[in-house]
Symmetry: C3
Subunit: 154 residues, 3 copies
């Protein structure tokens, strides 16, 4: 019997957590776009210097790195190092039928920690705050992956 259906409450948890994280990932791309337009800098590519609807007043320096923009790219990179692994791991986790409470703690713990990580990064909190949130999310994925291995090997 398949556990990967919306009749399974653990799969619903995964679906909600996963969809929130997917929206978070897509939104980060838009934060970078917003910041590039606002800073009028941090463009990635030479042809972006051409005059057009997006770049009405090309000026020297638009291609230089800009920390306001690069910060959004670093948040994105950090997300990409964690969220796709979570999305794959969550599905495996559902398939080995974990306890409902554990699944909710791990999945929504991951979601909460990652959302707060972005808030902390965007508002330039101390390294320790970011590191703590990164660690919580990372451990949630590691616990799920180890749980999956133990469940299928044993």
């Amino acid at each position: 019997m398949s556990l990967l259906t919306i009749d399974n409450p653990v799969f619903v948890t995964y679906t909600v957590a996963g969809a929130i994280m997917i929206l978070k990932l897509m939104g980060q791309g838009w934060m970078t776009v917003y910041r590039m337009l606002k800073a009028d800098a941090g463009w990635a590519t030479p042809e972006d210097m051409r005059s057009g609807l997006i770049n009405r007043n090309p000026r020297a320096g638009q291609l230089d790195p800009n920390d306001y923009v690069e910060r959004s790219r670093r948040i994105h990179r950090n997300d990409l190092e964690n969220i796709p692994a979570f999305l794959a791991c969550g599905l495996l986790f559902v398939a080995v039928a974990p306890p409902y409470l554990l699944a909710n703690i791990l999945m929504f713990g991951f979601v909460g920690a990652r959302l707060l990580h972005t808030v902390a990064y965007a508002t330039e909190q101390n390294h320790e705050v970011r590191a703590t949130l990164y660690t919580i999310a990372s451990i949630a994925v590691i616990v799920m992956a180890v749980y999956v291995l133990v469940a299928v090997v044993s």
Copy 2:
């Protein structure tokens, strides 16, 4: 009843769209390899300067960034910011049983927009072209994720 089987036409759509996007992602790595070899530059790592089958004539400057190579890496990064999220989101979308036509529009819309995005980026089209294709693909994923959330929460 599981919807994640090839008896379900929406899952077949996801399978075809997903496999094309996976091949696209893998191919981008090979475009970077091709460009590094052709430009004889843009190598990422100090030991690549050693003489060998891949680098027969080491010369100063091979480790410097090279826009022809970096462009392929930027395309790849842009893909990685979008395609893994699509691959995870598409599966969730199939699981909530969307209309077949809607699934085809969103999934093949995403695939078409992302393939054209790479063509536009590789051929140095104006920023507006890339931005439009990026937006179409991004909105397709966002619509799928919101649809999933509404379907399981309601």
Copy 3:
């Protein structure tokens, strides 16, 4: 009938290979953290220069790129260009019911090649070693994706 259950031996293979790759991805983040702390350099972000539990003795140069740290980031980037695609592709592959032996060869071939790729990269082996391992893993994913397309289209 769903093939995405742990009653299906091919799915178990995918589950084991996937969980190992997920742990590998998460571990790479921790290698970067370890190297940043050990080198006391390669920090990504201006606020990391503030004195605190993680950075007890701020000094000029901590934000400069450091090859020991950047190497771990390059390994991570290379992983991100390959492992999420594998995780998505493996699931599609299971869904089209491939032969058990073929699935084991491709999936554990991928896992072995990617783990050795990191060993080769971290120990600064010649480019040819890395390139060979990259190629094996990339071809495993490409074969799976093409197999999926042929299976559902035919």
